[in-house]
């Protein structure tokens, strides 16, 4: 009796494991309209909120049972890599541009059917995040970009009536905040540590510089990039920006007190300010990145990818098509405030009318995404190091750019 029960449960466990890992597969896969379970992994806040959307999808398509597993960002990378190694990736997963190069190289991603998904429907910088070596692996799900947040009340005190149009104006505005509005700092720019480069992208891209150019060559020491390094460093040299922060520092608290009247950040900050500091309402605004050669910010966000080993590619494709449709994207914005990657979602409602959202829309149209190279995390780490040497006054912009160039050359040649 006991033994049979145990045997049955063991058999069940094995068949369940087989179902989840698709072992002993090799067929054409399950048809889109067959009864099936679709496994989906999503990270952070998206992972938390996708469950409800998936439940609605299942209600509308009773044969497709969508199971969403939320994954913390802190463990996401390792979990995905181990799943790739073990061949246990889910059918559909969320993937940022920094992972895309790695996982395409691992050969675990299914190329996107470009007949179903049209490049023209999405922000160019959103689409680019899913393209590796000319092959499309991801459909853009949501995007983000950095714009300038600034305190309008303190700007009035400082005698500045409008947001800065150029980087020289950004610098003089920071100085005016400090001199006339008596703020502790003029602007927050990340001085060092992991991902300092994200603070630097608006400077670099607007100057017309790049870390790696279109041909995959290191370009950190181009005259434009050197100029950007110098411009970035000037804020620290002149005491307009703090040289030292604790890891994980969030400028919002200091934005509220007025210690930090300006910083560059993404769309999620709007929600955070409204939630955490409702008293700030009407005292701040967002503005486009100042213009150098152009006003160009960085593009981030996430794409949706389908696993190469998935048994349910047809159903997965339909689910991805649903999530990236204009209607679902507008709905997703209401739930999460993630910026829709689908351009059509921006044509009505808050996204079309709110002046702040217009700033994001405009910035996103020209934003640049980071190259999808498998060694990108190393490349960006070497630029982080170069930036630190500049902000700490240990190297000139030219010296730092030269050193970073050597490091990046080494990394792109692999």
């Amino acid at each position: 009796m006991h033994r049979t029960a145990r045997t049955v449960s063991a058999a069940l466990a094995i068949s369940l494991a087989c179902g989840l890992t698709a072992c002993g597969s090799g067929g054409e896969g399950v048809a889109a309209d067959a009864e099936q379970t679709l496994t989906v992994w999503a990270m952070g806040a998206e992972g938390e909120k996708l469950g409800a959307v998936a439940a609605e999808y299942t209600k509308a398509n009773p044969k497709i049972d969508v199971k969403v597993t939320p994954i913390g960002w802190d463990v996401a990378h390792q979990k995905l890599v181990s799943a790739a190694a073990a061949g246990t990736l889910p059918d559909v997963m969320q993937m940022g541009s920094t992972y895309m190069g790695e996982f395409a190289e691992l050969g675990v991603l299914e190329p996107v059917d470009t007949k179903t998904f049209d490049k023209k429907d999405f922000f160019p910088a959103g689409w680019e995040q899913g393209v590796v070596d000319g092959e499309v692996y991801g459909v853009p799900w949501y995007v983000d970009t950095r714009v300038l947040y600034y305190r309008t009340d303190l700007a009035r005190k400082a005698g500045v009536g409008k947001p800065p149009a150029t980087f020289a104006e950004l610098e003089s505005m920071a100085a005016a905040y400090q001199d006339k509005a008596k703020t502790k700092w003029g602007i927050y720019l990340q001085p060092r540590g992991l991902d300092t480069v994200q603070s630097f992208y608006p400077f670099l891209y607007s100057a017309g510089g790049e870390i790696v150019d279109k041909n995959g060559k290191a370009a950190v020491n181009s005259p434009a990039a050197v100029g950007a390094f110098e411009q970035y460093g000037a804020f620290f040299d002149k005491g307009l920006s703090t040289k030292s922060v604790q890891p994980g520092y969030d400028p919002l608290k200091d934005f509220n007190t007025g210690n930090v009247p300006m910083f560059f950040s993404g769309p999620w900050i709007r929600t955070l300010i409204d939630e955490q500091y409702p008293d700030l309402k009407g005292k701040w605004a967002v503005a486009n990145v100042p213009t150098g050669k152009s006003s160009t910010s960085m593009a981030g966000g996430s794409s949706l990818v389908i696993s190469k080993d998935s048994e349910h590619k047809a159903a997965a494709k339909e689910f991805v098509a649903h999530l990236t449709s204009a209607q679902a994207q507008a709905d997703w914005y209401r739930r999460t405030h993630d910026l829709p990657a689908n351009l059509a979602a921006w044509s009505s409602g808050e996204l079309a009318e709110d002046p702040g959202m217009k700033v994001f829309f405009q910035q996103m149209k020209t934003a640049k995404s980071t190259p999808t190279l498998p060694t990108w995390s190393e490349i960006s780490a070497s630029v982080d190091t170069a930036l630190e040497s500049v902000t700490q006054g240990k190297a000139s912009g030219r010296e730092a750019a030269g050193k970073a160039q050597a490091g990046v050359e080494d990394l792109v040649s692999r």
Binding site: E102, L194, S244, T375, E388
Partner: protein, 323 residues
């Protein structure tokens, strides 16, 4: 040749007769063999676990350290190329690794003596000096050992924060400006050492309390009868008799500190300017952020050899003194 049996051989065969009859006397060893078999059987679970989770990774890491195992080998492990000692030679040209070695050495050279001495001091005080609330203090000193590093990090960030921190607040009251502990290249490492000492003091203290209680009271009484003061008793009785405990405490603290990872990982991420980058942290980054598994494995083996050498050296030095 072999067909002609010499009488000598015959007699030898005969002489062997009784020995063969004594065969049952082989019983006990055979029973021992059966016992052995049972022993092996019972230890199978452990042996399997040991083989899978200890021996295999150790050997695999060693093999990996001679290859260029990288990201693409995660799905195709056998495609990794054998590159001999290249990872090892590259290590000693890696500025970051050399800096990490230096930082780790700094952590050990300062951290170990401070931890062991303070642990001894606290143990002696708790053993003799304080009668009341002894348990309270013991628990208090031991609490950091069993507290999660994440919680500890939150508390220490608050203590060290240059604007809103505890030390900054106290300094402001007194009219000073507190330094930016974690933001300064010279102060970041000492701050992490202070944190590590605080976290590991409890372990060392417990060892010393056990050691102190193992010292026979007669020896102390005899010393006191002979007119030894507190300090003399400490120097002539306590410290010498605690030598085995001191050796053990020093060795385990050193091994722990050579592996230091958590403190810089949660507090500084190795910064500012790599001033708190330790070997373990560098290894973690190379291995798990950049997936240079072969290179990180080589680093693990170098660290292992260093730990081995330092431990053997310590055992030699401190043991020789006892005899």
């Amino acid at each position: 040749m072999s067909t002609t049996t010499t009488p000598a051989a015959k007699t030898a065969g005969k002489r062997n007769g009784p020995a063969q009859r004594r065969a049952p006397a082989d019983g006990p060893p055979r029973r021992l063999g059966r016992q052995n078999a049972a022993g092996w059987l019972f230890s199978t679970p452990f042996l399997v676990l040991f083989a899978v989770f200890m021996a295999f990774p150790i050997v695999a890491t060693l093999l990996m350290s001679f290859t260029d195992f990288g990201l693409r080998n995660v799905t195709h492990p056998l495609d990794a190329e054998f590159i001999g000692l290249e990872n090892y030679t590259k290590l000693f040209e890696d500025e970051k690794f050399l800096e990490a070695l230096f930082n780790t050495a700094y952590f050990v050279v300062v951290g170990v003596p401070v931890t062991v001495l303070l642990g001894l001091l606290v143990a002696v005080l708790l053993n003799n000096g304080i009668d009341r609330a002894r348990t309270f203090f013991r628990v208090g000193f031991y609490a950091p050992v069993v507290t999660s590093i994440v919680a500890v990090a939150v508390v220490w960030r608050f203590v060290l924060d240059p604007t809103d921190g505890l030390i900054a607040g106290l300094a402001a009251e007194a009219g000073f400006t507190a330094p930016d502990f974690l933001g300064s290249e010279t102060l970041a490492m000492p701050s992490l050492i202070a944190m590590a000492v605080w976290r590991n003091l409890g372990t060392v203290m417990v060892l010393f309390i056990a050691g102190l209680q193992a010292i026979p009271t007669e020896v102390r009484e005899a010393a006191r009868l002979d007119g030894a003061g507190t300090f003399q008793e400490l120097r002539r009785i306590t410290v010498p008799l605690l030598r085995p405990t001191t050796l053990y405490a020093t060795v385990i603290t050193t091994i722990g500190y050579l592996n230091v990872f958590e403190e810089p990982f949660v507090m500084t991420q190795g910064g500012p300017s790599d001033s708190t980058l330790t070997v373990s942290l560098h290894m973690y980054r190379e291995g798990f952020n950049f997936f240079h598994m072969g290179y990180a494995s080589a680093m693990a083996y170098v660290l292992f050899v260093v730990i081995m050498a330092v431990t053997v050296l310590q055992l030699r030095l401190l043991k020789d003194n006892t005899s």
